[in-house]
Assembly symmetry: C2
Homo-oligomer: 193 residues x 2
């Protein structure tokens, strides 16, 4: 149940077996069935989740009842509502499982403990936060400058594994287009090459 996290810390943070035993203790293993919620709008987000295996998503629902996906998370990804987690304000997002999934939860306290337990770890997580912000900015510029087809190609390049395994309508929701349009784009691209 900790295999993915262990590999992750070993490869990305460069941590020893011993150090990992300590890190491991900060996490709470949980299983989520498909469609099960990790967080619902209005709740305060208590945990950041590391995905051991499976697939989750965070999304909002607008006044028309439409879902808008903010983020996907598969193996080796983190997902949470950081804003709610850090401020204690109720979240405006839902997080649920798109597949039966195993996740490792870490709360704010343990996160701080983990961060403070090692310089390497702190640096790594600061870096991660920075990369995340840069990714949000890239996504914004993609909305400013790209057509639907370009956004899809961009996503294919950045997250091929996610495009492969997530249902088309969810990809469409993430890109801000309709499933019909994405289906046509796909057909068009397939025909091209």
């Amino acid at each position: 149940m900790y295999a993915t996290l262990k590999k992750y810390f070993s490869e990305k943070v460069g941590i020893t077996e011993n150090e990992f035993e300590n890190v491991k203790s900060f996490f709470l293993p949980r299983k989520f069935k498909r469609r099960q919620f990790l967080l619902q709008k209005g709740q305060v987000c208590k945990y950041t989740a590391f995905v051991e295996n499976g697939c989750l998503r965070s999304y909002t629902i607008d006044d028309m009842g439409e879902e808008h996906i903010l983020q996907f998370a598969i193996e080796n990804w983190w997902i949470s509502d950081q804003h709610s987690l850090l401020t204690g304000e109720p979240s405006s997002y839902f997080i649920d499982a798109l597949e039966d999934s195993e996740v490792l939860l870490i709360d704010k306290q343990n996160y701080d403990k983990m961060i403070n337990s090692s310089n390497k770890i702190e640096q790594f997580f600061n870096q991660l936060t920075q990369n995340n912000r840069a990714a949000l900015e890239r996504r914004i510029t993609s909305f400013l400058s790209m057509t639907a087809e370009e956004k899809y190609i961009f996503m294919l390049e950045k997250y091929p594994d996610i495009v492969q395994r997530v249902p088309l309508r969810h990809i469409a929701s993430y890109l801000g287009i309709t499933p019909e349009s994405l289906s046509r784009i796909r057909g068009h691209l397939a025909h091209k090459n």
Copy 2:
């Protein structure tokens, strides 16, 4: 030249006159004329700028030569390319002045010194970073769920002062629509009320 920053730290961080004298020493005052660059694509971002007065913007230019505005900054706002600043990678953004402006620059080293000089300050800036991320996420969901008119109204509510003083075509660029469309939206809204 430090009046705005002083008021900012006094009101938002709750800092005394004495403490401010220390904070002040970390900043480098600079003036920028309209159209002058604070950062250009390909350069490494060395400073975060606090706007004493005037107005700046950060933006990208796509392959068609179109500008896409990521952020505006007026009095009391911060602007920089955090990613470039922290990683040392060349920036993909331009930052320039939309009006003659006075800014206070702080580099990474002095930022760290400032942060470490007081718990209040550290907490405040962490909070600021969080709010910033939440704002980026809201902007993403605005692209996913809103029409051009809704985005404009949203912006009017969130940043009325910026909408007032920045030329229409820049607002349009920020919203990801054409100046013509924004002009029509404006006309339509004016006619409505």
